[in-house]
């Protein structure tokens, strides 16, 4: 094998686009664009690398021709409308579902901490928080205490999982993911059911932990309007990757505007982390594509 350190997740041949390096135009009206990751070959250093992913269910293409790389220490945010295939993509990357086309490669030392979209506790298994955290591996009483403190859930240690609220449970699942000392943290809509302040705090926490521990992050965002500023790259998904880039660039991208509407593009705000401990939000207004020029900007400020 060419790269002995690669575990081949799926042996199917990667789907080749029609001869050129360009992704064909999609039915949602995106213009043809360069392949999101530039080339059809696998990136040698990425934690996870996927090429030409296609997933078909019940005669519908949930994903087609998706290329994605996540590198060490990189925060990649995945946004897209409901039903765009975000969760499907995450599940394929994690190996929970097989792609019908394409291939996922995971680096040999990949260690994933996963926070699923929904964590339903089955009341039928008796289990304390402590035990649940231990199950993920790499426990150690001191580390467990430190991480629980980090997610502000130390008081739950001896409680049964079934006694926790939704928000507490979410923090516990995050703690379990962190305790595994992952080099890739995967969060599928981690802020569902969390209020605005909670969302900001969570993004702060993830950004801080990334700086501290140096893991890569794949974050599925529930909200088109609010993307963590620490994102190194935003991937805008609607069954295929419509556009990708740094948060500000994505908001300006014509494909983004076309798919999510001018309203969404105008409201697009990037949350910038402040170290002054107040939880204020700077909703940075962004110039949008020319069609929307005459409209006033909604959101946190007036336009320059």
């Amino acid at each position: 094998m060419a790269h002995p350190d690669w575990r081949r997740a799926h042996a199917d041949a990667p789907a080749r686009g029609p001869s050129s390096d360009r992704v064909p135009p999609c039915k949602h009206g995106c213009a043809p664009q360069e392949r999101p990751e530039g080339s059809a070959s696998f990136s040698a250093n990425a934690l996870i690398s996927a090429r030409g992913l296609g997933v078909r269910r019940n005669g519908r293409d949930l994903l087609s021709n998706v290329y994605i790389d996540i590198s060490e220490r990189e925060i990649v945010t995945l946004i897209g409308p409901n039903g765009a295939g975000k969760t499907t993509l995450v599940r394929v990357l994690l190996g929970l579902e097989r792609p019908d086309q394409g291939e996922v490669r995971r680096r040999d030392d990949l260690r994933i901490g996963y926070v699923p979209q929904r964590f339903d506790v089955d009341a039928v298994i008796p289990m304390t928080v402590d035990r649940f955290l231990l199950l993920g591996g790499n426990g150690g009483a001191k580390r467990t205490a430190a991480i629980l403190d980090e997610v502000d859930a130390s008081y739950t240690r001896n409680q049964q999982l079934t006694e926790l609220s939704g928000g507490e449970l979410q923090r516990i699942v995050l703690a379990r993911a962190l305790l595994r000392e992952p080099n890739l943290l995967v969060l599928d809509e981690p802020v569902q059911g969390v209020d605005y302040t909670g969302e900001v705090e969570l993004y702060n926490l993830i950004g801080r932990l990334r700086d501290e521990y140096g893991f890569g992050v794949l974050l599925v965002s529930h909200d088109l309007h609010f993307v963590m500023a620490k994102s190194d790259r935003v991937l805008c998904l609607n069954h295929h990757v419509c556009c990708s880039g740094v948060p500000e660039a994505v908001a300006q991208h014509p494909a983004y505007v076309r798919i999510f509407g001018e309203e969404a593009a105008r409201a697009f705000a990037v949350y910038h982390h402040h170290h002054d401990h107040s939880h204020d939000i700077s909703g940075e207004p962004l110039p949008v594509s020319d069609e929307a020029e005459s409209e006033p900007v909604s959101g946190g400020g007036s336009r320059a």
Partner: protein
């Protein structure tokens, strides 16, 4: 002094109580009761197979149970009809097929009641060897796979994303379940074997705060039910296996009722 047949019945029942406890808990945790029921009822086909090939009936049941279990796993991959509905249909089909298959076997008439409800007082030394041999294997493998089994039971996707081999662990588990069903057949019969696994686990749930504690409590409840059931059976002349299951069910009923009461 106890009669030898009663001693053998007690030893077999207590042995099964210990073997069944961890499996029963996992069946409850993973909501596989219907799955097990279908596999168990297909066991009668295995009885016919054993009779036809003149081999050990326990082995015949074991083989068929394993085959059926893997077929069901295959069926569960389709997403058109829920597995529950398929199982509800198939466990009747499996039983009917088994009854026909045993009826077709030439030779002396088959004691259908014995296979369906068990004949705990007819346990032989060979049966005991199956129970303790098979049981030892089951317990060793469960102990070895305890962590991954538990992780999958708590949250399948989470465990799989963290690197637990879902397919492998599940395959091993259903094989163990098939073995347990086969060795339990003589004691409680194929119709009651899942009750022997599931009911004590249900009774133990409200009393447990950790998974291991629940397994230990399940074993204790099952063992006490075996002793009480066999005692009732010998003084009232009730059938052995069903008596054990009735005692277990009363225990589960009491546990759940008190849980409902204290939850308020």
């Amino acid at each position: 002094m106890l009669e030898p047949f009663l001693v053998r019945a007690l030893i077999a029942g207590l042995g099964l109580a210990i073997i069944a406890a961890p499996l029963g808990c996992f069946v409850v945790w993973q909501r596989m009761a219907y799955f097990g029921e279908t596999v168990a009822q297909a066991g009668l086909i295995g009885v016919a197979l054993g009779l036809a090939l003149q081999m050990s009936l326990t082995l015949g049941v074991m083989l068929i149970a394993v085959v059926v279990a893997f077929l069901l796993i295959g069926l569960s991959r389709q997403k058109v009809v829920a597995l529950d509905s398929i199982l509800g249909l198939l466990h009747h089909a499996a039983l009917a097929t088994g009854v026909i298959a045993t009826a077709m076997i030439s030779g002396p008439p088959v004691d259908l009641m014995g296979f369906l409800f068990g004949d705990v007082f007819a346990i032989t030394s060979e049966d005991l060897a199956w129970i303790f041999g098979g049981g030892a294997i089951v317990l060793v493998v469960v102990a070895w796979l305890w962590q991954p089994l538990l992780r999958l039971a708590v949250h399948q996707d989470l465990a799989a994303a963290e690197g637990v081999d879902r397919e492998l662990v599940r395959s091993v588990f259903i094989t163990l379940l098939a073995v347990a069903i086969a060795v339990a057949m003589k004691i409680v019969g194929i119709l009651l074997v899942m009750a022997f696994l599931v009911v004590p686990a249900v009774a133990a749930r409200p009393l447990a705060r950790s998974p291991e504690r629940m397994v230990v409590l399940t074993a204790l409840i099952a063992a006490a039910s075996v002793v009480a059931g066999l005692w009732l059976s010998s003084i009232l002349d009730w059938p052995g296996g069903p008596s054990i299951v009735v005692v277990m069910s009363v225990a589960a009923g009491l546990a759940l009722t008190s849980a409902a009461y204290y939850q308020r």
